[in-house]
Amino acid sequence: MADVTQEQLFEFLCRMGDNTLVLGHRVSEWCGHAPVLEEDIALANTALDLIGQTQMWLGLAGEVEGKGRTADDIAMLRDVWDFRNVLLAEQPNGDFGQTMMRQFLFDAWHLAMLTALTKSTHEQIAAIAAKAVKEVQYHVERSGETVIGLGDGTSESHKRMQDALDLLWPYVGEMFVSDAIDDAMAAAGIAPDLADLRAQYDAHVTPVLAEATLMIPEGGFAHKGGKTGFQHTEHLGHLLTQMQWLQRAYPGATW
Protein backbone atom coordinates (compact mmCIF):
# COMPACT_ATOMS: atom_id res chain seq x y z
CA MET A 1 0.00 0.00 0.00
CA ALA A 2 1.25 3.44 -0.95
CA ASP A 3 2.21 5.97 1.70
CA VAL A 4 0.92 9.51 1.89
CA THR A 5 2.87 12.49 3.12
CA GLN A 6 1.87 14.46 6.17
CA GLU A 7 1.18 17.46 3.91
CA GLN A 8 -1.15 15.44 1.69
CA LEU A 9 -3.05 14.11 4.67
CA PHE A 10 -3.36 17.59 6.16
CA GLU A 11 -4.70 18.87 2.84
CA PHE A 12 -7.26 16.07 2.62
CA LEU A 13 -8.47 16.68 6.18
CA CYS A 14 -8.82 20.42 5.48
CA ARG A 15 -10.99 19.60 2.47
CA MET A 16 -13.32 17.51 4.61
CA GLY A 17 -13.34 20.02 7.46
CA ASP A 18 -13.67 23.12 5.29
CA ASN A 19 -16.68 21.65 3.48
CA THR A 20 -18.50 21.13 6.75
CA LEU A 21 -17.27 24.41 8.25
CA VAL A 22 -18.28 26.63 5.35
CA LEU A 23 -21.59 24.89 4.68
CA GLY A 24 -22.30 24.74 8.42
CA HIS A 25 -21.74 28.49 8.68
CA ARG A 26 -23.93 29.14 5.65
CA VAL A 27 -26.76 27.08 7.10
CA SER A 28 -26.39 28.79 10.47
CA GLU A 29 -27.11 32.12 8.74
CA TRP A 30 -30.75 30.97 8.65
CA CYS A 31 -30.99 30.80 12.43
CA GLY A 32 -33.99 32.93 13.38
CA HIS A 33 -34.94 33.61 9.74
CA ALA A 34 -36.40 30.35 8.39
CA PRO A 35 -39.95 30.32 6.98
CA VAL A 36 -41.39 28.27 9.87
CA LEU A 37 -40.16 27.34 13.33
CA GLU A 38 -39.66 23.63 12.56
CA GLU A 39 -37.46 24.48 9.58
CA ASP A 40 -35.50 26.99 11.63
CA ILE A 41 -34.78 24.30 14.21
CA ALA A 42 -33.93 21.72 11.56
CA LEU A 43 -31.50 24.10 9.86
CA ALA A 44 -29.86 25.01 13.16
CA ASN A 45 -29.46 21.33 14.04
CA THR A 46 -27.95 20.58 10.65
CA ALA A 47 -25.52 23.47 11.05
CA LEU A 48 -24.60 22.22 14.51
CA ASP A 49 -23.87 18.71 13.24
CA LEU A 50 -21.71 20.11 10.45
CA ILE A 51 -19.75 22.36 12.78
CA GLY A 52 -19.31 19.47 15.22
CA GLN A 53 -17.92 17.37 12.39
CA THR A 54 -15.62 20.28 11.51
CA GLN A 55 -14.11 20.14 14.99
CA MET A 56 -13.21 16.50 14.44
CA TRP A 57 -11.78 16.96 10.91
CA LEU A 58 -9.84 20.14 11.59
CA GLY A 59 -8.81 18.87 15.03
CA LEU A 60 -7.24 15.86 13.35
CA ALA A 61 -5.74 18.12 10.67
CA GLY A 62 -4.01 20.13 13.40
CA GLU A 63 -2.69 16.93 15.01
CA VAL A 64 -1.37 15.64 11.69
CA GLU A 65 0.27 18.97 10.93
CA GLY A 66 2.05 18.88 14.28
CA LYS A 67 2.46 22.64 14.68
CA GLY A 68 0.15 22.90 17.66
CA ARG A 69 -2.78 24.43 15.78
CA THR A 70 -6.24 23.65 17.13
CA ALA A 71 -9.43 23.24 15.09
CA ASP A 72 -10.36 26.80 16.13
CA ASP A 73 -7.01 28.17 14.95
CA ILE A 74 -7.42 26.54 11.57
CA ALA A 75 -11.06 27.65 11.22
CA MET A 76 -10.69 31.22 12.42
CA LEU A 77 -7.16 32.32 11.54
CA ARG A 78 -6.86 31.44 7.86
CA ASP A 79 -7.90 33.57 4.91
CA VAL A 80 -9.69 32.69 1.68
CA TRP A 81 -6.66 31.27 -0.17
CA ASP A 82 -6.10 28.62 2.51
CA PHE A 83 -9.66 27.25 2.41
CA ARG A 84 -10.19 23.92 0.67
CA ASN A 85 -13.99 23.55 0.53
CA VAL A 86 -15.80 22.83 -2.72
CA LEU A 87 -17.39 25.88 -4.34
CA LEU A 88 -20.90 24.48 -3.80
CA ALA A 89 -20.54 24.84 -0.02
CA GLU A 90 -19.81 28.58 -0.15
CA GLN A 91 -22.64 29.55 -2.51
CA PRO A 92 -25.05 32.03 -0.91
CA ASN A 93 -28.26 30.83 0.69
CA GLY A 94 -30.58 32.58 -1.77
CA ASP A 95 -34.16 31.71 -0.89
CA PHE A 96 -35.13 28.74 1.27
CA GLY A 97 -35.51 26.52 -1.79
CA GLN A 98 -32.04 27.36 -3.04
CA THR A 99 -30.61 26.57 0.40
CA MET A 100 -32.35 23.20 0.46
CA MET A 101 -31.24 22.38 -3.09
CA ARG A 102 -27.62 23.17 -2.17
CA GLN A 103 -28.02 21.02 0.94
CA PHE A 104 -29.43 18.07 -0.98
CA LEU A 105 -26.76 18.19 -3.69
CA PHE A 106 -24.08 18.27 -0.99
CA ASP A 107 -25.71 15.78 1.42
CA ALA A 108 -25.99 13.09 -1.24
CA TRP A 109 -22.24 13.39 -1.94
CA HIS A 110 -21.45 13.65 1.76
CA LEU A 111 -23.35 10.45 2.52
CA ALA A 112 -21.57 8.51 -0.24
CA MET A 113 -18.18 9.91 0.80
CA LEU A 114 -18.60 9.24 4.52
CA THR A 115 -19.96 5.75 3.91
CA ALA A 116 -16.81 4.96 1.94
CA LEU A 117 -14.58 6.62 4.57
CA THR A 118 -15.93 4.33 7.31
CA LYS A 119 -13.76 1.70 5.60
CA SER A 120 -10.68 3.94 5.54
CA THR A 121 -7.32 2.37 6.39
CA HIS A 122 -6.73 5.43 8.59
CA GLU A 123 -8.27 4.54 11.92
CA GLN A 124 -9.14 8.07 13.07
CA ILE A 125 -10.64 9.00 9.70
CA ALA A 126 -12.79 5.85 9.79
CA ALA A 127 -13.94 6.75 13.32
CA ILE A 128 -14.91 10.32 12.40
CA ALA A 129 -16.76 9.08 9.32
CA ALA A 130 -18.65 6.45 11.34
CA LYS A 131 -19.79 9.17 13.72
CA ALA A 132 -20.70 11.72 11.02
CA VAL A 133 -22.47 9.36 8.64
CA LYS A 134 -25.25 8.72 11.16
CA GLU A 135 -26.01 12.44 11.30
CA VAL A 136 -25.80 12.90 7.56
CA GLN A 137 -28.37 10.16 6.98
CA TYR A 138 -30.86 12.44 8.74
CA HIS A 139 -29.67 15.49 6.77
CA VAL A 140 -30.16 13.90 3.37
CA GLU A 141 -33.50 12.39 4.31
CA ARG A 142 -34.82 15.82 5.15
CA SER A 143 -33.20 17.76 2.29
CA GLY A 144 -34.41 15.16 -0.23
CA GLU A 145 -37.98 15.27 1.11
CA THR A 146 -37.95 19.06 1.03
CA VAL A 147 -36.65 19.17 -2.54
CA ILE A 148 -39.50 16.84 -3.56
CA GLY A 149 -42.10 18.80 -1.61
CA LEU A 150 -41.10 22.15 -3.09
CA GLY A 151 -40.25 20.91 -6.60
CA ASP A 152 -43.56 19.09 -6.91
CA GLY A 153 -45.37 21.87 -5.07
CA THR A 154 -46.99 25.06 -6.36
CA SER A 155 -46.01 26.58 -9.69
CA GLU A 156 -44.05 29.24 -7.79
CA SER A 157 -42.13 26.76 -5.61
CA HIS A 158 -41.49 24.54 -8.65
CA LYS A 159 -40.06 27.45 -10.60
CA ARG A 160 -37.79 28.46 -7.73
CA MET A 161 -36.50 24.91 -7.28
CA GLN A 162 -35.80 24.57 -11.00
CA ASP A 163 -33.94 27.91 -10.91
CA ALA A 164 -31.94 26.66 -7.91
CA LEU A 165 -31.05 23.42 -9.68
CA ASP A 166 -30.01 25.29 -12.84
CA LEU A 167 -27.83 27.59 -10.74
CA LEU A 168 -26.22 24.93 -8.54
CA TRP A 169 -25.91 21.89 -10.79
CA PRO A 170 -22.67 23.17 -12.41
CA TYR A 171 -21.08 23.03 -8.93
CA VAL A 172 -21.76 19.30 -8.52
CA GLY A 173 -18.92 18.13 -10.77
CA GLU A 174 -16.17 19.50 -8.52
CA MET A 175 -17.03 16.98 -5.80
CA PHE A 176 -16.04 14.10 -8.07
CA VAL A 177 -12.89 15.48 -9.72
CA SER A 178 -9.66 13.99 -8.38
CA ASP A 179 -6.26 15.60 -8.19
CA ALA A 180 -2.88 14.31 -6.93
CA ILE A 181 -4.03 14.50 -3.29
CA ASP A 182 -7.14 12.41 -3.95
CA ASP A 183 -5.13 9.92 -6.00
CA ALA A 184 -2.64 9.53 -3.16
CA MET A 185 -5.47 9.01 -0.61
CA ALA A 186 -7.14 6.45 -2.86
CA ALA A 187 -3.88 4.58 -3.50
CA ALA A 188 -3.31 4.34 0.27
CA GLY A 189 -6.87 3.15 0.91
CA ILE A 190 -7.49 6.23 3.07
CA ALA A 191 -10.28 7.62 0.88
CA PRO A 192 -12.29 6.29 -2.06
CA ASP A 193 -11.65 7.07 -5.69
CA LEU A 194 -14.01 10.04 -6.06
CA ALA A 195 -15.07 9.05 -9.57
CA ASP A 196 -16.37 5.77 -8.11
CA LEU A 197 -18.85 7.72 -5.97
CA ARG A 198 -20.52 9.29 -8.97
CA ALA A 199 -22.68 6.31 -9.96
CA GLN A 200 -23.94 6.00 -6.39
CA TYR A 201 -24.62 9.75 -6.29
CA ASP A 202 -26.57 9.74 -9.54
CA ALA A 203 -28.58 6.71 -8.40
CA HIS A 204 -29.58 8.68 -5.31
CA VAL A 205 -30.10 12.14 -6.79
CA THR A 206 -31.73 11.40 -10.15
CA PRO A 207 -34.91 9.71 -8.82
CA VAL A 208 -35.36 12.40 -6.15
CA LEU A 209 -35.14 15.19 -8.74
CA ALA A 210 -37.48 13.24 -11.03
CA GLU A 211 -40.01 12.88 -8.22
CA ALA A 212 -39.60 16.60 -7.61
CA THR A 213 -40.55 17.10 -11.30
CA LEU A 214 -37.27 18.92 -11.91
CA MET A 215 -35.07 18.73 -15.00
CA ILE A 216 -31.34 18.20 -14.56
CA PRO A 217 -29.56 20.77 -16.76
CA GLU A 218 -27.73 19.42 -19.78
CA GLY A 219 -24.00 19.63 -20.28
CA GLY A 220 -21.11 18.58 -18.10
CA PHE A 221 -19.58 21.96 -17.29
CA ALA A 222 -18.25 22.13 -13.74
CA HIS A 223 -17.05 25.15 -11.79
CA LYS A 224 -13.85 24.10 -10.03
CA GLY A 225 -11.00 25.45 -7.95
CA GLY A 226 -12.42 25.50 -4.42
CA LYS A 227 -11.02 22.32 -2.98
CA THR A 228 -7.62 22.78 -4.61
CA GLY A 229 -7.51 26.36 -3.35
CA PHE A 230 -6.90 27.61 -6.88
CA GLN A 231 -9.79 30.05 -6.91
CA HIS A 232 -12.80 30.51 -4.68
CA THR A 233 -15.89 32.48 -5.66
CA GLU A 234 -16.16 35.99 -4.24
CA HIS A 235 -18.77 34.72 -1.78
CA LEU A 236 -16.26 32.98 0.48
CA GLY A 237 -14.49 36.21 1.39
CA HIS A 238 -17.77 37.80 2.44
CA LEU A 239 -18.64 34.74 4.50
CA LEU A 240 -15.30 34.81 6.30
CA THR A 241 -15.67 38.46 7.25
CA GLN A 242 -18.76 37.40 9.20
CA MET A 243 -17.52 34.08 10.55
CA GLN A 244 -14.11 35.40 11.57
CA TRP A 245 -15.24 38.86 12.62
CA LEU A 246 -14.34 38.44 16.27
CA GLN A 247 -10.81 37.14 15.69
CA ARG A 248 -10.21 39.83 13.07
CA ALA A 249 -11.42 42.64 15.32
CA TYR A 250 -9.88 41.29 18.53
CA PRO A 251 -7.01 38.98 17.57
CA GLY A 252 -6.47 36.19 20.06
CA ALA A 253 -9.67 36.96 21.99
CA THR A 254 -10.82 34.12 24.27
CA TRP A 255 -13.63 33.69 26.79
Binding site: N45, Q55, A127, K131, Y138
Partner: protein, 152 residues
Protein backbone atom coordinates in the same frame (compact mmCIF):
# COMPACT_ATOMS: atom_id res chain seq x y z
CA UNK B 1 -7.60 4.18 49.09
CA UNK B 2 -8.95 4.35 45.59
CA UNK B 3 -12.72 3.84 45.26
CA UNK B 4 -13.71 0.76 43.25
CA UNK B 5 -14.89 1.19 39.70
CA UNK B 6 -18.40 -0.07 40.57
CA UNK B 7 -18.63 2.70 43.17
CA UNK B 8 -17.59 5.26 40.58
CA UNK B 9 -20.26 4.04 38.14
CA UNK B 10 -22.82 4.53 40.92
CA UNK B 11 -21.63 8.08 41.50
CA UNK B 12 -21.73 8.85 37.79
CA UNK B 13 -25.27 7.49 37.65
CA UNK B 14 -26.21 10.45 39.85
CA UNK B 15 -24.85 13.01 37.33
CA UNK B 16 -27.83 14.30 35.32
CA UNK B 17 -27.74 14.92 31.60
CA UNK B 18 -27.83 18.74 31.32
CA UNK B 19 -30.46 18.74 28.54
CA UNK B 20 -32.72 16.00 29.91
CA UNK B 21 -32.03 16.10 33.66
CA UNK B 22 -34.33 13.18 34.54
CA UNK B 23 -31.80 10.73 33.11
CA UNK B 24 -28.15 10.35 34.11
CA UNK B 25 -25.10 10.42 31.91
CA UNK B 26 -24.85 6.66 32.57
CA UNK B 27 -28.49 6.11 31.48
CA UNK B 28 -27.69 7.98 28.30
CA UNK B 29 -24.89 5.53 27.55
CA UNK B 30 -22.25 8.18 26.98
CA UNK B 31 -19.88 7.04 29.74
CA UNK B 32 -17.90 4.37 27.93
CA UNK B 33 -15.35 3.43 30.51
CA UNK B 34 -13.87 4.16 33.93
CA UNK B 35 -10.32 3.14 34.77
CA UNK B 36 -7.54 4.01 37.17
CA UNK B 37 -4.25 5.02 35.57
CA UNK B 38 -2.04 5.22 38.61
CA UNK B 39 -3.64 7.89 40.80
CA UNK B 40 -5.58 9.39 37.92
CA UNK B 41 -9.13 8.32 37.22
CA UNK B 42 -9.75 8.22 33.52
CA UNK B 43 -13.35 8.51 32.35
CA UNK B 44 -14.10 7.92 28.66
CA UNK B 45 -17.08 9.88 27.37
CA UNK B 46 -18.55 9.73 23.89
CA UNK B 47 -20.57 12.60 22.40
CA UNK B 48 -24.17 11.91 21.37
CA UNK B 49 -23.97 14.13 18.28
CA UNK B 50 -20.70 15.62 17.07
CA UNK B 51 -21.96 19.17 17.51
CA UNK B 52 -23.86 18.61 20.75
CA UNK B 53 -23.18 21.74 22.83
CA UNK B 54 -23.81 19.79 26.05
CA UNK B 55 -20.67 17.68 25.61
CA UNK B 56 -18.26 20.08 27.32
CA UNK B 57 -20.74 20.74 30.14
CA UNK B 58 -21.11 16.99 30.67
CA UNK B 59 -17.35 16.59 31.00
CA UNK B 60 -17.26 19.42 33.50
CA UNK B 61 -20.19 17.96 35.49
CA UNK B 62 -18.47 14.58 35.65
CA UNK B 63 -15.22 16.14 36.89
CA UNK B 64 -17.06 18.20 39.49
CA UNK B 65 -19.08 15.22 40.75
CA UNK B 66 -15.97 13.09 41.17
CA UNK B 67 -14.00 15.90 42.83
CA UNK B 68 -16.90 16.23 45.28
CA UNK B 69 -16.45 12.54 46.10
CA UNK B 70 -12.82 13.19 46.94
CA UNK B 71 -11.17 12.06 43.72
CA UNK B 72 -8.57 14.72 43.02
CA UNK B 73 -7.16 13.62 39.73
CA UNK B 74 -9.81 13.09 37.06
CA UNK B 75 -9.19 12.99 33.35
CA UNK B 76 -12.22 12.99 31.06
CA UNK B 77 -11.29 11.88 27.57
CA UNK B 78 -13.48 12.01 24.50
CA UNK B 79 -13.82 8.75 22.67
CA UNK B 80 -15.65 8.86 19.34
CA UNK B 81 -15.33 5.22 18.34
CA UNK B 82 -17.49 3.22 18.33
CA UNK B 83 -20.01 5.99 17.69
CA UNK B 84 -22.77 6.53 20.20
CA UNK B 85 -26.01 4.72 19.53
CA UNK B 86 -29.40 5.00 21.21
CA UNK B 87 -29.11 1.23 21.80
CA UNK B 88 -26.92 2.21 24.76
CA UNK B 89 -29.77 3.99 26.53
CA UNK B 90 -30.53 2.05 29.72
CA UNK B 91 -33.96 0.52 30.42
CA UNK B 92 -34.16 2.71 33.52
CA UNK B 93 -33.43 5.72 31.31
CA UNK B 94 -36.09 4.75 28.77
CA UNK B 95 -38.73 4.46 31.52
CA UNK B 96 -37.74 7.86 32.92
CA UNK B 97 -37.96 9.46 29.47
CA UNK B 98 -41.58 8.30 29.10
CA UNK B 99 -42.47 9.71 32.55
CA UNK B 100 -40.88 12.98 31.50
CA UNK B 101 -42.97 13.12 28.30
CA UNK B 102 -40.33 12.04 25.79
CA UNK B 103 -40.97 8.94 23.68
CA UNK B 104 -37.92 6.67 23.75
CA UNK B 105 -36.16 5.61 20.52
CA UNK B 106 -37.26 2.56 18.58
CA UNK B 107 -35.60 0.73 15.69
CA UNK B 108 -38.81 1.23 13.69
CA UNK B 109 -37.85 4.92 13.47
CA UNK B 110 -40.79 6.40 15.32
CA UNK B 111 -42.42 6.39 18.75
CA UNK B 112 -44.48 3.43 19.88
CA UNK B 113 -47.16 5.74 21.28
CA UNK B 114 -47.87 9.17 22.71
CA UNK B 115 -46.00 9.40 26.04
CA UNK B 116 -49.00 11.18 27.60
CA UNK B 117 -52.17 9.33 26.57
CA UNK B 118 -50.51 6.20 25.04
CA UNK B 119 -52.43 6.62 21.77
CA UNK B 120 -50.69 5.12 18.75
CA UNK B 121 -52.35 7.71 16.50
CA UNK B 122 -49.21 9.86 16.16
CA UNK B 123 -47.57 11.74 13.28
CA UNK B 124 -44.18 13.30 12.71
CA UNK B 125 -43.89 17.09 12.61
CA UNK B 126 -40.14 17.28 12.02
CA UNK B 127 -37.16 14.95 12.09
CA UNK B 128 -35.33 17.65 14.08
CA UNK B 129 -36.20 19.03 17.51
CA UNK B 130 -35.12 21.22 20.38
CA UNK B 131 -31.85 19.28 20.81
CA UNK B 132 -29.89 17.27 18.23
CA UNK B 133 -31.11 13.98 19.72
CA UNK B 134 -34.84 14.68 19.43
CA UNK B 135 -37.53 14.85 16.74
CA UNK B 136 -40.92 16.53 17.01
CA UNK B 137 -44.10 14.46 16.86
CA UNK B 138 -47.73 15.08 17.67
CA UNK B 139 -50.58 13.02 19.01
CA UNK B 140 -53.83 13.13 17.01
CA UNK B 141 -55.90 12.01 20.03
CA UNK B 142 -54.80 14.22 22.94
CA UNK B 143 -53.60 16.83 20.39
CA UNK B 144 -50.37 17.48 22.28
CA UNK B 145 -46.99 17.77 20.56
CA UNK B 146 -44.20 15.71 22.09
CA UNK B 147 -40.50 14.98 21.71
CA UNK B 148 -39.30 11.68 20.31
CA UNK B 149 -35.76 10.62 21.18
CA UNK B 150 -34.63 9.68 17.71
CA UNK B 151 -32.86 6.46 16.89
CA UNK B 152 -29.26 6.81 15.81
Amino acid sequence: MKPAEAQIWDWLDAVPDPEIPVISVVDLGIVRGVAWEGDTLEVAVTPTYSGCPATSIISLDIETALHDRGIKDVRVKTQISPPWTTDWLSDKGRAKLIDYGIAPPRAAGGPECCPRCKSTNVTRISQFGSTPCKAQWRCADCLEPFDYFKCI
